[in-house]
Homo-oligomer: 320 residues x 2
Amino acid sequence: MERSAAPYVAGIDIGGTNTVFGIVSENGDVLCQDSVKTQTYGDIKDYVDTVAGRLEFMIETVGGKEKVRGMGICAPLGNYYSGNIENAANLPWKGIIPLASLFEKTLGIPVKLTNDADAAAMGEMIYGVAHGMKDFIMLTLGTGVGSGIVANGQLIYGSDGFAGELGHVIVRRDGRPCGCGRKGCLETYCSALGVANTAREFLKERSEKSLLRTIALDSITSKDVFDAAKSGDELAKAVFDFTGNILGEAVADFIAFTSPEAVIFFGGLVNAGDLLFKPMRESVDKNVLYTYKGKTKLLVSSLRGADAALLGASALGWEA
Amino acid sequence: MERSAAPYVAGIDIGGTNTVFGIVSENGDVLCQDSVKTQTYGDIKDYVDTVAGRLEFMIETVGGKEKVRGMGICAPLGNYYSGNIENAANLPWKGIIPLASLFEKTLGIPVKLTNDADAAAMGEMIYGVAHGMKDFIMLTLGTGVGSGIVANGQLIYGSDGFAGELGHVIVRRDGRPCGCGRKGCLETYCSALGVANTAREFLKERSEKSLLRTIALDSITSKDVFDAAKSGDELAKAVFDFTGNILGEAVADFIAFTSPEAVIFFGGLVNAGDLLFKPMRESVDKNVLYTYKGKTKLLVSSLRGADAALLGASALGWEA
């Protein structure tokens, strides 16, 4: 069989805690998967040998290398063009690691690498709600905010492989300090940490009663705010209104960039549901340029289960 | 000769005042050109017959239809996907005009249509400073602010053909009123009109001497501000510092979107030179995310002559 007609792809999702890998079919069925603790492997050679060894076993199980079109890897700061990860703060390997070529040599199948948000966008396009779409933006609302932008049916990697840092677009000049060293980035407001920080601000500035006042200020999480808002806590609901409003303002500007068919939301904060999405939709509608009004779908990822990251990584394998 | 190997393209640049059309070679040499007054032709059929008639004559002159690969048209609100212009306020034809197909039928060569800023980007990519680039953003700083975005070597038209309205990204929440009905759009600050408005604001708010105080407030133009700044007028220079600073903030955010190799500036305001570019460069450097620092070229269009618009329109003909 020609490899270009092979029915499966392999994928590796590398996180700071776990590395999940497996084999996926064209429909997005995970045929087999396994995982290792990333931090156990301080030496990159041990890591590649271990993961590749277990993947080789899986590949044999599904019928051998000729059944596998290619492999995709997603990792923090993964660069699509070079196939390297560079100085990823929460991975055990320092400096520049040629991850794609290490796995390609060991496994003998084509390997592509990208970062988490771009992999999520690819996963959505191949297996999820963006199937058949040529223009959409993926926003991952987790601890931080990441993004993957698809235009003309292709991911935009930009001149250096680092396009799509929409979490670091400035939404408030001289706003909250960001980990990037600047102020007012989208992710300082519309991430899980942003929601917790907004709750802290509101609790200090306002005097109204709130369930959140029973929690030590420093230990409040976005989950606490969500639980309180679900119980009808007005201050907690106001936190989501504030967050949704800023997110909507940002999304309205993003729409003016690529006029996407949809903006698709992924990540922990998406669990807040209408608490976040209702004010966000209202804010998009209020802030978007008339040219785009009512056109752009605002969707939640359909790959929300435990397999989402693995599916995203594997999606890149079809390109190979 | 196969049309795909034909050495020339035709182009039509439709403006509210003039329509310029002609034949262009692969090197960007304008072999012949002509123009008509757009407003003379209230009837679209008369307009197409006149322009197409003169173009047919030009096409015969260069060796006939088989020597012409295709034709590009640029017009306000031109939609690439449909080939229509829709309700363009400063053109004499109301409603939806299927301009590309009207010319295609009359001339018998393939025709593509787009808007001014996208045509400028195509022109720059085929004949200008963006030659060989796969990722760049074109910003046209004229009466308003337009943009064309190229990623992966392709123009981004988006889901509806209207991508790239970067003049309407919000740079100041609740800022200056914009013609689009919203507030704080980039073009209310960083266009020719924006510069004149900033000068008016500064003259009212400040008491310092200025050459601009000899001009009636309502009739100040960006050219007046430029002339004053060139003569060393401090208030006029402060207007360009203010404009360049906001433009740089916006460009820094645009870079986080597509990580372009270059941002290319075009249009009347570009004549301000370092008065605008020095504060703009400083502002980009100060505001851009560390990932992109020092990477993006900030360039001036190389198609600044009278032929620029025609070259931009014709560039689309190579796609046909």
